[in-house]
């Protein structure tokens, strides 16, 4: 009984405290969990888009990045869903379709319902790359090779149940061929190295990384897994243009979310401020310089996007 009264008292105090705290939020620096390692594309972009958080017209408090890498993001998101405090001082970066695909596949303790989206900052489509000296010059060359040699076209990607893998599955389905997808344990960078070194015949990779690799003269980019051509690569046709029925399900959307249970006033405040923070001119110029495509979406738009992705991914992964 004593225990019960004590916990009731604590709960009451917490309630009163949090109601007060909501108005002054944020009162101390905020943490943003990134479920990939320091230096990766998500980490790099997260550091840029949050660099103006301390400004008066933004949150007025800096955001610090905490990396919890491992198993294609599962480690970080498991932690975020199960152990992160829902007090508004712990934000997380999401990657769509990664975490939704992983939750459909199972074996993790989160799903789209475990998180509340705040805003989206970027959309990095997957592209198909081959080494600069490859004999393939279009996606049709690749598919023809795969049709003649079923299961022998090796191509790399950043792991299983991430955007690259989704793109690979879509390509297999749309072209009606069997391919050999080789997941890499070192993310996009490792997958790109496999392509350049000739360990595999091709690869699916992030547009931003592939753009850089092409600038360095190491790869050719044969197609974009998106609905439209990208501003960074106006000369590269989409898969759809090349005759494959592939939508934007594999596009890697990156944004900020909070754990379920975060007080509504805090979610509202973040949802209002964070997109304007992303829209800051300095952020945009740094993102452009780094070859990272921006795509700002508000909370409502992100909620819609998550729902649409979940339906599309369930359908795609059902056949596995």
């Amino acid at each position: 009984m004593k225990k019960l009264t004590a916990s009731a008292a604590i709960a009451l105090a917490a309630l009163a405290g949090s109601a007060l705290a909501d108005e002054n939020y944020p009162e101390r620096p905020i943490m943003l969990m990134v479920s990939y390692g320091a230096g990766g594309a998500t980490d790099f972009q997260a550091r840029i888009v949050t660099m103006t958080a301390g400004n008066e017209d933004a949150l007025g408090m800096p955001i610090a990045i905490i990396n919890k890498p491992g198993a294609g993001g599962r480690v970080g998101w498991n932690w975020f869903a199960g152990q992160a405090e829902s007090d508004g001082y712990t934000l997380g970066a999401y990657n769509i379709p990664h975490f939704i695909a992983q939750s459909i596949e199972g074996g993790v303790s989160y799903s789209a319902d475990s998180f509340e989206p705040i805003a989206n900052w970027g959309a990095d489509p997957a592209v198909f790359v081959v080494a600069a000296d490859s004999e393939f010059n279009s996606m049709n060359d690749v598919v023809d090779y795969a049709a003649a040699n079923p299961g022998k076209l090796t191509f790399s990607g950043a792991g299983l149940f991430v955007g690259h893998h989704i793109a690979a599955l879509q390509l297999e389905k749309a072209a009606g061929v069997k391919l050999a997808y080789i997941p890499n344990n070192q993310g996009g960078a490792g997958a790109m190295k496999a392509v350049i070194a000739g360990e595999v015949l091709g690869g699916v990779n992030n547009l931003s990384d592939a753009f850089r690799a092409r600038e360095a003269g190491n790869v050719k980019i044969l197609g974009v897994f998106d609905l439209e051509r990208n501003d960074f690569l106006p000369d590269v046709p989409t898969l759809k243009e090349q005759g494959f029925d592939i939508d934007n399900s594999s596009v890697n959307f990156r944004g900020v979310m909070v754990p379920k249970g975060t007080p509504q006033p805090i979610i509202d405040k973040l949802a209002e401020v964070v997109p304007t923070m992303f829209a800051n001119g300095r952020v945009a110029s740094k993102m452009k310089a780094g070859g990272s495509p921006m795509h700002i979406m508000t909370r409502d738009e992100v909620i819609e996007m998550w729902k649409a992705r979940e339906v599309a991914l369930k359908e795609l992964l059902a056949g596995l």
Partner: protein, 509 residues
């Protein structure tokens, strides 16, 4: 010789000031347990937002070189390796510090670091195009064999017996499987939330090395309070100079091994020190002295881990592929300024590229000077009474483990592994092979899985893993390494058997 033209840029007041800040800050960060070079560089990235590209990179490059060397300070004085690169340094370095030769060990480690480091950066300057091809040559099958080659080192590393070394290596390999499997995402041995992310190497390192000694210090109880008061020998720097260069074998083995292994993306930095240590032990006539505070152990390990710094940046600077986590963070530092590594960097921004590389060269020398300056003072740590020392080390161990990813889970892992290691050490097992197993396990596994997937799609596993000159060369070196260890062990047994027989005879007569 293009780099000479940009030497002046390093010495402009602002640039040189940043170089000093990066070097001194890096030494301090490096000496703090738990702050690995990758973390230190990531912490500095926000400061470079406001700087010119070349200035930002000077700061990052200087910090990278000096954190690697700074890690030796806590490895030698506290037996806490700050990063995997410093594991081998603890083996002889801490033994030297315990004998009161801390100043000597630190001086040797900084000098060896500088020699290795300068050599590594010179390789980066002159041989980059050649080295880039070499870095690409290692595919999954080669990395797999390289990891196996690393495993063969386990048996002979810092252990009284080969069998115990292999056993503790196996424990390490098992611990490496805890958590999510890196490729398939399967969950293995996740019995508690703290290990759901697997065993993070840095908390494991801190626990395995620091905690057993903390427990022994506490277990010593009050008796040790009036134990012998250690006098820290002063050691003139000039003597350290001549000593480093008189032990040329260890120095050259360390430098060469470090530069070659450092080049291989994804593997190098972590095991360069240990492999160099093992090689110089095998080739030394004073083999038995290793592990008891032998200067050559410190020299080999430290020259190797700094020699790795330059070559580890080759894949990044030429191919735009970050070969190590630290290189990935540096890539971020470049991209923020809109500079893409690769041919663009050297063709369109030579001032940035060469100023950066030059600053690493000067940074190595500055790091050495500051290191030598503080070595004498820092070595006094050994005089701190055991009771206080144990508390301080324990505090640093907790702080270091927590700071890696702000997680109490890592602190539990550190404490659990450390306590386990205390009992294992009492039975003659040692921590170094265990850690090597923990590091190499995932490399071997992931590359085997990837390699066999490629092999299944294209040819057969047999031909993929067993043909090709590089595969065969790596297998041959691995077999030779095992053979040599076995031969040494057998010869030693024959020796001791003979000596015992002689002794018995003597006793009888």
């Amino acid at each position: 010789m293009e780099f000479l033209a940009y030497f002046g840029d390093v010495f402009t007041p602002i640039n040189f000031g940043l170089l000093l800040i990066g070097t001194i800050g890096g030494l301090i960060l490096g000496a703090t347990p738990g702050l690995s070079p990758t973390m230190a560089v990531a912490l500095l990235i926000p400061f470079t937002f406001k700087l010119e590209p070349a200035q930002g990179l000077i700061l990052l490059g200087a910090a990278y070189t000096s954190t690697v060397a700074g890690g030796a300070v806590s490895a030698i004085l506290l037996k806490i390796p700050g990063a995997p690169a410093n594991i081998a340094t603890t083996l002889d370095g801490h033994a030297m510090a315990k004998k009161g030769q801390g100043a000597r060990a630190l001086q040797l480690s900084f000098l060896a670091s500088a020699v290795g480091g300068v050599f590594g950066v010179l390789l980066l300057i002159f041989l980059t195009p050649v080295l880039a091809q070499w870095a690409l040559a290692f595919g999954p099958s080669h990395l797999f064999w390289l990891a196996i080659l690393g495993v063969t080192v386990i048996g002979s590393l810092d252990s009284s017996s080969v069998v115990k070394g292999l056993l503790s290596g196996c424990i390490g390999l098992w611990l490496a499987t805890v958590g999510f499997d890196d490729i398939m995402g399967a969950q293995r041995f996740i019995f508690h939330d703290a290990v759901s992310g697997g065993i993070n190497v840095i908390p494991a390192l801190i626990g395995l090395f620091a905690i057993p000694q903390v427990i022994s210090m506490f277990a010593g109880g009050r008796r040790s309070l009036d134990a012998e008061i250690l006098t820290v020998e002063r050691h003139p720097i000039s003597k350290a100079f001549s000593e480093v260069f008189s032990r040329l074998r260890a120095l050259s083995i360390g430098t060469v091994t470090g530069s070659i292994i450092g080049l291989i993306p994804g593997v190098g930095g972590q095991i360069a020190g240990l492999v160099a240590y093992d090689q110089s032990k095998k080739m030394s006539p004073e083999r038995d002295k290793f592990g008891t505070g032998h200067p050559e152990g410190v020299i080999a390990a430290e020259s190797a881990n700094n020699a790795m710094v330059g070559p580890s940046l080759v894949p990044l600077l030429t191919l735009s592929i970050p070969g190590s986590p630290t290189a990935a963070v540096l890539l971020g530092g470049l991209l923020i300024h809109g500079i893409f590594p690769g041919s663009d960097l050297f063709d369109n921004h030579p001032d940035v590229a060469w100023t950066f590389i030059n600053s690493m060269l000067i940074g190595q020398i500055l790091m050495c000077i500051f290191g030598l300056y503080v070595a004498g003072l820092a070595a006094r740590v050994a005089q701190v009474p055991n009771a206080i020392m144990a508390a301080v080390v324990l505090g640093l161990a907790v702080f270091g483990s927590y700071s890696v990813q702000h997680s109490m889970g890592d602190v539990y892992v550190m404490a659990a592994l450390g306590t386990g290691m205390y009992f294992l050490e009492r039975f003659g097992f040692s921590a170094a092979p265990l850690v090597l197993g923990l590091i190499l396990g995932p490399i071997a596994e992931a590359n085997f899985v990837q390699g066999s997937m490629i092999a299944n799609a294209t040819s057969s596993i047999g031909s993929y893993f067993f043909t090709g000159p590089l595969n065969i060369a790596l297998i041959a070196v691995a077999v030779a390494s095992i053979g040599y260890s076995v031969w040494l062990e057998l010869r030693q047994r024959r020796h001791t058997a003979k000596e015992e027989a002689v002794a018995k005879k003597g006793a009888i007569s």
